[in-house]
């Protein structure tokens, strides 16, 4: 039976660090689902179906977490801190916050621009750039992190959270524009 207590990195046989080999992760995800997915137990007894459903959902959850840069960072930090990381705190980096506010303002003014599609595209590009830089920082910090590295990583996670949220809003806006056109 699947060992639900092992951490997600161990589940996929990957080293516990932020930098993850994406294709290896995907390959092992497929291998695990190939064994555990409910389709493999469609004609089995109820108990087995139940087990397969739980195991398969667990693997999906693990994959989802490790695949997403923000989720992965949050998860890894909390593993290192024995689950005590609290990300409710917001960042206090004023420079970063100003930049975010400026982006949000730009976003809310997009519809009045002569070519709103291009304007949203520009904002999304800027957000991707920011996210990439933060992910790079996390990769450097979360290899074999010291207590100090972890503190620094938590700050980056908070920032990445901001950026991700803004990105979702920008994407929603882009979808809205598509629907209008």
């Amino acid at each position: 039976m699947l060992d639900f207590s092992q951490n997600y990195f161990a589940l996929f046989g990957l080293p516990m660090r932020y930098r993850v080999n994406g294709s290896l992760l995907a390959e092992r995800y497929r291998v695990l689902q190939g064994t555990l997915h409910p389709d493999r137990f469609a004609a089995a007894g109820d108990r087995e179906k139940r087990l397969s459903l739980q195991a398969s959902a667990h693997v999906n959850q693990a994959y989802q977490t490790l695949r997403d840069p923000l989720e992965r960072a949050r998860y890894l930090v909390s593993l290192h801190l024995d689950g005590s990381a609290d990300e409710k705190e917001a960042t206090r980096d004023m420079g970063f916050l100003m930049e975010q506010m400026e982006l949000r303002e730009a976003l809310s003014g997009v519809k009045d621009r002569p070519d709103p599609h291009i304007a949203v595209g520009d904002i999304l590009d800027r957000l991707s750039g920011q996210a990439d830089a933060l992910v790079q920082g996390l990769e450097d910090l979360l290899d074999q992190p010291s207590a100090q590295d972890l503190e620094a990583a938590r700050e980056l996670v908070r920032k990445l959270q901001f950026v991700s949220k803004c990105r979702v809003e920008a994407e929603d806006l882009e979808a809205e524009l598509d629907e209008l056109s």
């Binding site: 039976m1 497929r30 689902q33 064994t35 555990l36 389709d39 137990f41 087990l51």
Partner: protein, 623 residues
């Protein structure tokens, strides 16, 4: 006790061991059944050689007629002839009114959430109408295959919500069918294509059927079909194209809006015929008998038609764009786009989809049959006729699931396009001091306001120990199975006192109602409920016995010591003896007993499977 029976390469299982399974495409306009024979999947014709069964059911005083015959009676007997029932299934009367479609039926005004259509045979629900269609197709498959079906895969639009899925499953239950899986239509189509050719890469499936539209984007890699995102509109299809054309004809011919049901039917028929003709012709003449006794003659050309339908196609194109964005892809990254559904025969549809994806859409497999074929392939794998390594489908939920929070807002628990099966939990707390109950409202949809989402279920968690506001910790867990069906559990954790409630959203049709319908339909067919229950339990028991035998033969010696094996075999013998008897409850108990006894063995087998699968992987760990 895995049931996956794997025969040696090149050596098919003996014919009597082959389980009979079928794939059913329950469509808005037409339905089909397909099955795999000698390794090839194909749709099955009726005794007159027709593959498509019109999804039309006519209820007369003394008979239920399904298919072509019912369809031809539709204009003369509009009120008792139900077509396009898929547009109604899993919807309430309010939804139906909101769809804007003027339906040529009369609905019974009852206090139930489920609409009932008034026919000469009495009031029928969409679930019952669908069950009639399913039954005809299942009988067709059984007569061709020469035996009872052990299970079916039924396809549903990817964009179908919870309620529509559950209603479809209810219809199958009513028709006495074992549902192996509800399969999303575009995924089924991808399966039919993907197994045909070596097609690793990103694919889009554009499925415009009679009444529903789906877009799915999949990543196919070595037999694994991973759906990246899906989207659509469960109330947009060929019917709507007919409707805009019918409206145009009405304007041209000066027909009033309040035309009778029969005139409306004729108009829709003429519109549909014109649409079909325009797939090859550039213009089509129109003749129509008017309500005032005169005849009207006109013409519709391709350009006018294209202009009429363009706004509808634009809606599908916008959905495609959103789906691409959800998948995190640009259209250029999509290798090809597969066309599914009769409405993709319309040249303008192909043209615009081709433009969007920058590629010529694939139409190699008959767009009417491709879904049923994919369903048959999946059914064949699920009943265990095929090796387990052949393929795997990883599908997603189309719409977000959430809970109502303060202020009429929706908190999303499982976002759309999450791979299923999925289990997610979130903690909530109490609002007032001493609060002992909490009411939970489960919703589906993308909007923020409760009023804009579909309500799936409401339930109350009681027995929370009195505490100050905010101290209780209520964990609400959502679980979505591989059919895309949801169950919700709530537990109060902080006190150690477990207040717990589990709901399966049930919409309109209660279990009791289904039971009653089941009794009615069997009474009509002269069948006996008890006999049926006994047979079902016996089938279930034999399935368990067979599976365990196969497992023991495969790895019983390796995984069990002598005393464990004796315990397992004792339970096996006990079930065999019980299953020979005539008490369905005793058989049920013995089957459960066997599963319980074998629990540890099942876990060991699963574990061994995982270890074996991962063993080949470890080497690369430190690349």
């Amino acid at each position: 006790m895995s049931l996956l029976q794997i025969s040696e390469p090149g050596q098919a299982a003996a014919p009597h061991q082959q389980r009979l399974a079928a794939g059913i495409d329950l469509g808005t306009t037409n339905s089909l059944v397909a099955t795999v024979r000698s390794g090839t999947a194909d749709t099955l014709p009726d005794h007159e050689g027709r593959h498509l069964l019109p999804s039309v059911v006519r209820f007369t005083e003394d008979a239920v007629i399904v298919g072509e015959e019912a369809k031809s009676a539709a204009a003369d007997d509009p009120l008792s002839t139900v077509s396009s029932v898929k547009r109604l299934i899993g919807r309430g009367l309010n939804d139906i009114a909101r769809l804007g479609a003027r339906l040529p039926y009369e609905f019974a005004q009852e206090d139930t959430a489920v609409p009932r259509i008034r026919t000469r045979r009495g009031d029928v629900s969409p679930v019952e109408v669908s069950a009639e269609i399913l039954e005809v197709l299942a009988r067709r498959a059984e007569s061709v295959l020469g035996g009872e079906l052990s299970g079916v895969v039924i396809t549903v639009p990817a964009y179908f919500d919870e309620v529509q899925r559950q209603a479809t499953k209810d219809a199958a239950r009513l028709a006495g069918l074992e549902v192996l899986r509800l399969l999303n239509e575009p995924t089924a189509a991808a399966l039919a294509y993907g197994l045909d050719k070596d097609a690793d890469g990103i694919h889009a499936v554009y499925d415009l059927g009679g009444g529903t539209f789906d877009i799915s984007i999949l990543h196919l890699r070595r037999g694994v079909f991973e759906v990246l995102a899906t989207g659509g509109d469960s109330a947009l299809g060929g019917d709507d194209l007919d409707r805009v054309v019918a409206r145009w004809i009405m304007e041209q011919a000066g027909i009033e809006d309040d035309a009778s049901h029969a005139v409306q039917r004729r108009l829709l028929g003429a519109a549909c015929a014109a649409k079909e003709a325009l797939s090859t012709a550039d213009r089509v003449p129109l003749h129509l008998a008017l309500p005032n006794g005169h005849r009207w003659e006109g013409e519709l050309d391709r350009t006018t038609f294209d202009d009429l339908i363009d706004p509808l196609i634009s809606k599908t194109v916008a959905a495609c764009r959103r789906c691409l964005r959800d998948a995190g892809l640009r259209s250029a990254e999509v290798k090809d786009v597969v066309m599914v559904g009769g409405s993709t025969r319309v040249p303008r549809v192909r043209e615009r989809v081709g433009e969007l994806f920058g590629t010529v859409p694939l139409v190699d497999i008959d767009p009417d049959r491709v879904v049923a074929i994919g369903a048959a392939l999946q059914a064949d794998v699920l009943v265990g006729n095929k090796g387990a390594d052949e393929m795997l489908l990883l599908d997603v939920i189309p719409l977000s699931l959430g809970l109502e929070t303060m202020g009429g807002l929706v908190e999303k628990i499982v976002p759309r396009n999450t791979t299923i099966p999925v289990a997610r939990a979130q903690e909530f707390t109490t609002f007032k001091d001493g609060q002992t109950a909490m009411s939970l409202h489960v919703l589906q949809g993308e909007r923020e306001l409760v009023s804009d989402c579909r309500s799936l279920a409401r339930f109350e968690l009681r027995g929370i120990p009195p505490m100050v506001a905010g101290a209780a910790r209520i964990l609400v867990s959502f679980e979505v199975d591989a059919d895309g069906l949801l169950s919700v559990t709530a537990v109060e954790k902080s006190s150690g006192v477990k207040a717990q409630v589990e709901v399966k959203p049930s919409y309109g049709l209660t279990d009791a109602e289904i039971e009653r319908m089941l009794r009615d339909s069997m009474a009509n067919a002269g069948e006996d409920l008890e006999a049926r229950r006994l047979r079902e339990q016996q089938v279930e028991a034999h399935r368990a016995i067979e599976a365990l035998r196969a497992a023991l033969a495969a790895d019983g010696d390796a995984l069990l010591d002598a005393s464990e094996r004796r315990r397992v075999e004792d339970a096996l013998v006990h079930l065999e003896l019980t299953a020979g008897g005539e008490d369905p409850n005793a058989i049920k108990l013995a089957t459960e007993e066997l599963e319980k006894t074998c629990g540890f063995y099942v876990e060991r087998r699963m574990n061994r499977g995982i270890l074996a699968a991962m063993a080949g992987q470890k080497v690369e760990e430190f690349e």
